[in-house]
């Protein structure tokens, strides 16, 4: 018999980074399909093309610059790419999209040393770059064009979004424009960024990840809960000027952000208490930007800002080490 050696433990749970990333992609698939149903083949092209481009970039960096001959893609680049596509209007030009992917992968991730070393969520870095560099394209939303597969999203008439319209003309005007807003934003049949519209599908995806024990519930619960409570305060104070709290948490990028972007393990705290703080902080910033700041939506900024605080949060939310208590009882 050939004797094998290696350190303990000699058994290992059947889990890998690639498997985790694959699970995230699986969780995002329902929303990806809905986006294609609403915005046709061009949407599909953006999704597939972006993932392929992102994987290519990472492969190139690892093999050529880092000279890692045995590098095998772990699908994390695909996750970043798909999340970025979900965060932009469906009619975005392919080269704008490509520039966003380039920034997300290279600036957002690779220059820090690749997966695990990036302080900010790479997809949000990419989106922020696009938002600043292509401000018009990033707020030009095509109407929902249900089941017209062959009509490209860039040919579809454009429209306002519920949050944008409320910012410009007030909530009353917005609710007139979008009938049955609460229910439709839950289902996803409203204009918005490609993958953020359906709270229902995003929640289903999240529950899958939770069941697979890939994510924990603290950040989404804290984030959405805080947004709900603060929105309720604004709404109680002046119901005609603000959306009700239920609609507030269903609109914009909150669900996508809270369920899939803020929960990125690399850029969020590690302890349960830290996760609560992270989520609450993101919720506060989101509501402040939405209702007091200049932008209609604040999820992107909120998460990036909280990302920056993660090292501090980790530092101050350490758990008590077993046996380091004075009193026993």
């Amino acid at each position: 018999m050939k004797l094998l050696t290696g350190p303990a433990p000699h058994i290992h749970e059947n889990i890998s980074t690639r498997r985790i990333m694959l699970d995230v992609l699986i969780a995002l698939t329902p929303s990806a399909i809905l986006a294609v149903l609403m915005w046709g083949w061009y949407m599909l092209l953006l999704e597939i093309g972006s993932m392929a481009f992102a994987e290519f970039l990472e492969f190139f960096v690892m093999r050529v610059f880092r000279k890692k001959k045995d590098f095998v893609p772990d699908l994390s680049a695909s996750v970043t790419a798909l999340l970025l596509v979900f965060n932009v209007p469906a009619g975005i030009s392919w080269w704008t999209m490509a520039s966003g992917i380039l920034v997300a992968i290279i600036i957002g991730k690779e220059i820090f040393g690749g997966i695990g070393n990036n302080p900010f969520n790479p997809a949000l870095v990419g989106r922020l770059f696009m938002y600043i560099s292509f401000p018009v394209a990033m707020i030009t939303w095509p109407q929902v064009n249900w089941l017209h597969f062959w009509t490209p999203a860039y040919d579809v008439a454009t429209t306002a979004t519920p949050l944008g319209e409320a910012k410009l003309h007030g909530v009353a005007a917005a609710t007139q424009l979008f009938h049955g807003l609460t229910w439709n934003s839950f289902l996803g049949l409203i204009p918005g960024s490609a993958g953020e519209t359906s709270a229902l599908l995003l929640i289903i995806g999240f529950l899958y990840l939770w069941w697979r024990k890939i994510v924990s519930y603290e950040i989404p619960l804290a984030y959405i809960g805080t947004t709900f409570v603060l929105s309720a305060l604004f709404w109680f104070a002046n119901p005609s000027a603000y959306y009700d709290p239920v609609t507030s948490i269903l609109l914009g990028g909150l669900m996508l952000g809270a369920l899939f972007m803020a929960t990125d393990p690399v850029t969020s705290p590690v302890t349960p208490l830290g996760k609560w703080i992270f989520g609450i902080g993101a919720g506060v910033i989101t509501v402040l930007i939405r209702y007091i700041g200049a932008y209609p939506e604040g999820v992107n900024f909120a998460i990036i800002l909280m990302n920056a605080l993660v090292p501090f949060i980790n530092q101050f939310t350490k758990r008590r080490v077993f046996g380091t208590v004075k009193e026993n009882g």
């Binding site: 018999m1 050939k2 004797l3 094998l4 050696t5 290696g6 350190p7 303990a8 433990p9 000699h10 058994i11 290992h12 749970e13 889990i15 890998s16 980074t17 498997r19 985790i20 045995d70 772990d74 994390s76 040393g113 690749g114 997966i115 695990g116 070393n117 890939i214 924990s216 393990p265 690399v266 590690v270 302890t271 980790n314 350490k318 758990r319 008590r320 080490v321 077993f322 046996g323 380091t324 208590v325 026993n328 009882g329």
Partner: protein
Amino acid sequence: MLVWRFKGGVHPPTKKLAKDSSIENLKASKRYSLFVAQNSGNPPKLLVQAGSEVKTGQKIAEADGFVSVPLHSPVTGKVVEIKKEKHPVTGRPADVVVIERTGEDEWVKLSAKPYTEYTPDEIKKRVAEAGIVGLGGATFPTHVKLSPSKKVDTVILNGAECEPYLTIDQRMMVEHPDEICKGGVAIAKAVGAAKIFVGIEENKPDAIESMKKAGSAFGIEVVALPTKYPQGSEKHLIYAITKKQVPSGGLPMDVGVVVDNVSTARAIYRALEFGEPLIERGLTLTGEGVKNQKNVIARIGTPVSDLLDYAEVSVESARVILGGPMTGIALESLEIGISKGTSGITVLPEEIVKKPAETNCIRCYRCVEACPTNLEPYLLYKMFKKKMFNEMKEEHLMDCIECGSCAYVCPANIDHVKAFKTAKLVVRTLGRR
């Protein structure tokens, strides 16, 4: 009874393949090879040389100081060689006594009387003379545990056996519950404790039932513990039963508790009642790599190769592990003999142990969740890579119990425990300067 669940831990498949195999006595080997250093603390001083004739139970090395125990010959025979061999635990060359068996056992036993007639001091003395160490694997001299410098009111017998595959403690509790209980009574008498508990994981109902039946006559309380690794860790076992946390860097006696493995308790009883020094122990021969899943009693020093012949290896390439899969040590040679701390030999074929290369940590927090001591293994490992040993110490490196839960759940295939063991050595060495 209320049981306190510790936070963290993991649930590896328990794979108690040998749980229904009765304990068998292994037939004698030709040669026995004994590491002189079998206990933690000071290794004993050798009393024999090549050519010495020895009898079964004869002392061949004597204790060197208080935290040390003597070593006894497992058979009647002749010392053929004293050589250096790589010690599987320390990885450094260590003295090995090779004894060739020449015939049937001619016993040299210690004096004997009914175990109840020993005074506390006599118990401690006997346990030391018999060379008894913690048989769970830590091999800490038991008489030292029985001489606490603080008031102890509780004895806990550790029958958790949370390590996957291993079943010897379970079988001991099923087959020899009386001897274990009597050993427990002796321990309690030695330390002056009033209360005796036995902690057993729920996945061993036969052992729980057997110990309950035997224990009731001695006022011993059996506690069924949740099946969660590492429930058998001394500190977590104490917490489960008493809710007391052994202070960081402290010992069980700091919370008034002494913990001994159930097999150790049995060895104590036998040393008292029959005057038997510790020359044999029970162990499990198991794993997907062997045909016969066995629990055996073997003499200390029995070559691993003889044990594997008995269990019949059925695979081409495997890790042969001294102990269980979570904390055991993969052997580089099968010619070494088992020692007092060997609770099993687990043979795991290549397809079970193979693991892809390490990738970047993605801070998925699985290790943080899994750590039963509430450490942050991802952070410790990051510090380790930057050689920040002082910072690691501040992050409670020394509280790590090396259970392997973090490495077990890591999606990036990081060998945390290997790193932490190295770091602990560095910290200890730096501390000594």
